[in-house]
């Protein structure tokens, strides 16, 4: 791209399909309702929630967050590379995003297994019920995210299929998985 082209102001655009943005805002509202129920329950039994929260490792939560933020970074690079028709780089970043997602997935399963082994199952108390409900719901979105990323890889693989809008739509979904985790991390691991 020339300097003159870079200097030109870009026209405003909706990244990906507008339908995906309607879904993102809907999901954001639904999760906000879940989070509000959690916060209200937390303020009713603060000692119980703080006592149970102390059994979570904040450093593990930070690791999960950094990994998902890295996946958002790589999928944003994927979109930009595809926009510049650097499809090899776009594909590499899509695979990198999947790798970060997989690291999160394995780490989360290990964390769940550890908590269950320690006796903190879904029915242990109210905090752990919320912990498993919110993280499992997010996990489900993450699993769908792998399918969505597979669509992006499929799009990038062949010159006959490459649709910039489809790739941006997939990236928008993946970023949603990331920002929902950012809120879950704050509420479950950091809040006092």
């Amino acid at each position: 791209m020339t300097d003159a082209a870079q200097a030109r102001p870009r026209a405003r655009f909706v990244p990906g399909q507008p339908d995906m943005w309607a879904f993102v805002l809907f999901e954001a509202l639904v999760f906000t309702a879940y989070f509000a129920v959690y916060v209200v329950a937390r303020t009713r039994s603060p000692e119980l929630f703080l006592q149970s929260q102390a059994h979570l490792d904040l450093r593990v939560g930070v690791f999960h967050t950094l990994v998902l933020l890295a996946s958002s970074w790589s999928v944003a690079r994927c979109v930009q590379a595809a926009r510049e028709r650097s499809y090899r780089a776009a594909l590499a970043n899509a695979w990198l995003t999947m790798l970060f997602g997989f690291v999160f997935l394995v780490s989360k399963v290990i964390e769940w297994a550890g908590k269950i082994r320690e006796g903190f199952g879904f029915t242990h108390d109210e905090f752990f019920s919320f912990y498993y409900f919110l993280t499992a719901l997010h996990f489900l979105h993450l699993l769908i995210g792998f399918g969505v990323l597979a669509i992006a890889v499929h799009q990038l693989w062949s010159p006959a299929r490459r649709s910039q809008q489809a790739i941006e739509t997939c990236a928008t979904y993946w970023h949603t998985v990331d920002f929902l985790w950012v809120l879950i991390f704050a509420l479950l691991y950091v809040m006092r």
């Binding site: 509202l29 906000t32 703080l50 970074w73 944003a76 970023h175 704050a186």
Partner: protein, 94 residues
């Protein structure tokens, strides 16, 4: 890839990582087994998370390049989430 855009994405990730590490610091300020809520730490945890979400939306999701309606809707949701979560927390712990 456009070097300027790549630098910007890296700077955004570094900023988000720095806020996350600040959350680790904030979360460690209190005794890990302190059995009383700390309104300042709780509210700052929510506020920092909302700042991070806005950065993700504006930068990674490219809302800053989106039409005004999408910018306003995303900010409206963030304001609503902030009001609901901080409101429920601060009223509940008061």
């Amino acid at each position: 890839m456009n070097a300027g855009f790549e630098r910007r994405l890296l700077a955004v990730w570094l900023a988000l990582a720095a806020i996350t590490l600040a959350q680790l610091f904030v979360g460690s300020l209190d005794e890990p087994d302190a059995l009383r809520p700390n309104a300042a730490l709780g509210a700052s945890a929510i506020a920092l998370a909302l700042v991070k979400v806005r950065i993700i939306m504006r930068e990674f999701m490219e809302v800053r390049h989106a039409p005004a309606l999408l910018c306003r809707l995303s900010d409206l949701w963030l304001a609503l989430a902030g009001a609901v979560l901080l409101g429920c927390y601060l009223v509940g712990t008061a």
